[in-house]
């Protein structure tokens, strides 16, 4: 398989998963609570896994400090994305200096 063919295959797998429910509108009332909560679960999972090193370990460092700063920003800024990112980024670079 050439690299180009592999890129197209990966594109097909990715697009197929994305279009699954968008192609035809369907009622999914039985799954509504799950779907309501899935975005939150997804972002917390992405954030948590993103803090791990490639071997799955969690170490104390600027990345973890940024997450703590982000949580503080969320509390101070009434859960605003801007506050989370601003506090977290400031904490990240501060932790790198220390």
């Amino acid at each position: 398989m050439t690299d180009m063919a592999l890129v197209v295959a990966v594109g097909i797998v990715t697009f197929a998963s994305r279009v699954s429910y968008l192609w035809r509108p369907r009622r999914t009332t039985h799954a509504q609570p799950f779907l309501d909560l899935f975005p939150l679960a997804l972002f917390v999972s992405l954030a948590t896994v993103g803090l791990a090193t490639p071997d799955g370990a969690f170490t104390v460092g600027p990345g973890l400090a940024a997450a703590v700063g982000g949580v503080v920003g969320a509390a101070v800024g009434r859960r605003s994305i801007v506050w989370v990112v601003a506090f977290g980024t400031a904490t990240f670079y501060l932790a790198r200096l220390l």
């Binding site: 998963s17 994305r18 279009v19 609570p33 679960a41 999972s45 948590t48």
Partner: protein, 223 residues
């Protein structure tokens, strides 16, 4: 007819993510060329796949062969199925197929998160808001990839360690959604499940598995 204010709001909100997306694109471009991809194929992969996680898995696993790449990408892509269902619920039933295909093409974590938050917090036309955010994302992702692929090893995008700020971005997208007991349980469960998944599952399956488990457990609770 598009709602101009929703479109512009989507672009404006996504503009805040632009530097990180561009830098991430540069990182991918540099890495792809370093792993033997031609610059044009690196850019083409960003246009065809349009998924940072899948593209990094692709270049990272290229030496292991197409089978390993496709297994990893399938694990990463499975999270799009509930994302697709959640977004579909926010769209009007009479939205054209062409618009639906376009929205599916750019069903990416970042703009999906912005759209879900905007739909809950403000009066926007969801399809138009997401289109605006998607345009900003695609432009920055492609421009970043092209810059990285073109400049190659002349730049060191890891210098500012912007990649380490991505968890923060996702934390920011999660924060507005944490309201009520059920949401708190889900957030706690997602963090716990991700901690466990990072220890026991291959990287490509960690996020999908943790998110599905957490949303499944959370949906059993009442607010």
């Amino acid at each position: 007819m598009m709602d101009r204010s929703s479109l512009v709001k989507g672009m404006r909100d996504a503009a805040g993510l632009a530097p990180a997306l561009f830098a991430f694109g540069v990182l991918f471009g540099v890495l792809a060329v370093d792993r033997g991809m031609s610059p044009w194929l690196a850019v083409a992969s960003s246009a065809i796949i349009l998924s940072g996680a899948a593209q990094f898995a692709l270049v990272g696993l290229l030496p292991a062969g197409p089978g390993a790449v496709l297994v990893a990408v399938t694990g990463l892509a499975l999270r799009h199925v509930p994302m697709s269902a959640a977004l579909a619920r926010l769209l009007p039933a009479d939205l054209s197929r062409v618009r639906r295909l376009a929205l599916a093409y750019v069903l990416v974590d970042e703009t999906f998160g912005l759209t879900v938050v905007a739909a809950r917090r403000s009066q926007v036309v969801v399809a138009d808001y997401k289109t605006g955010a998607d345009v900003m994302l695609v432009v920055n992702w492609l421009a970043g990839t092209a810059a990285g692929a073109g400049l190659g090893s002349m730049v060191d995008p890891t210098r500012f360690r912007l990649g380490e700020l991505f968890p923060l971005l996702f934390l920011g997208l999660a924060a507005p959604l944490v309201r009520g007991r059920r949401a708190w349980v889900t957030a706690g469960m997602a963090a716990a499940a991700a901690l466990v998944a990072a220890q026991v599952l291959p990287p490509a399956w960690q996020v999908t598995a943790a998110a599905v488990v957490a949303a499944g457990v959370g949906s059993r609770f009442r607010d």
